[in-house]
Symmetry: C2
Subunit: 117 residues, 2 copies
Amino acid sequence: MITFKNIQYNCSMELTLDLIGGKWKSLILWHLGDNALRFSELKKSLPKITQKMLTQQLRELEASGLVNRHIYTQIPPKVEYSLTPDGKSLLPVLETLCQWGLNYANTMEPMDEKNVK
Amino acid sequence: MITFKNIQYNCSMELTLDLIGGKWKSLILWHLGDNALRFSELKKSLPKITQKMLTQQLRELEASGLVNRHIYTQIPPKVEYSLTPDGKSLLPVLETLCQWGLNYANTMEPMDEKNVK
DNA sequence: CAGTATCCACTGTGATACTG
DNA sequence: CAGTATCACAGTGGATACTG
């Protein structure tokens, strides 16, 4: 049993899922990777997310200390998002996860050479 | 771009999330670990899941080939769930993920010795 | 450009009751 | 014991309009 921010978790997996679970968070972290991206660039790399969801998820990741938000005070506005050290520490795991999925898909439904990018 | 089961994914992370994303799947896989568990045992280890959700998620994991369902034909019924080799191949990644969450929580909110289990 | 606000529709999740 | 069926609700998603 673990307590974090006054929430009780039965195992650390639950805690982890609260941080990076859900439909978008890990995807956002993954796409940020080592670069800083503007809101619009991030939006473009996640074609199916809505503006509302992207904003909301970024705020939550920021609150968890996994993402930095850097505002350039200019007109038109420019905001860049990047991973904090804590966020970056997650990249290797996400990489492995990604690789696992790719492997899995290939085992189940081997792709022709020509379809592989 | 990846195509799997006629669904198009922009990156393999999306594919992975379709397989093990959502509120319960990775938690179920994690709790199964190396053992075979009966439905009721699994339910007990995931106190907050409803029977409906557990059944539903297990069916989906089974369809993905990550979980085996073994039925003992007897009365009262006994059904055991276990990880397939593909499912087991995910365990090391889940372990790392778990560890990451634990580490994160400890950095943010160091626990007293006495509270650590 | 990078948001916020509002309204509405849809789906996932949950509570409860029932069954072979 | 291991489910299925039904109903209700919250979170998510989409469209649109507006703003510093």
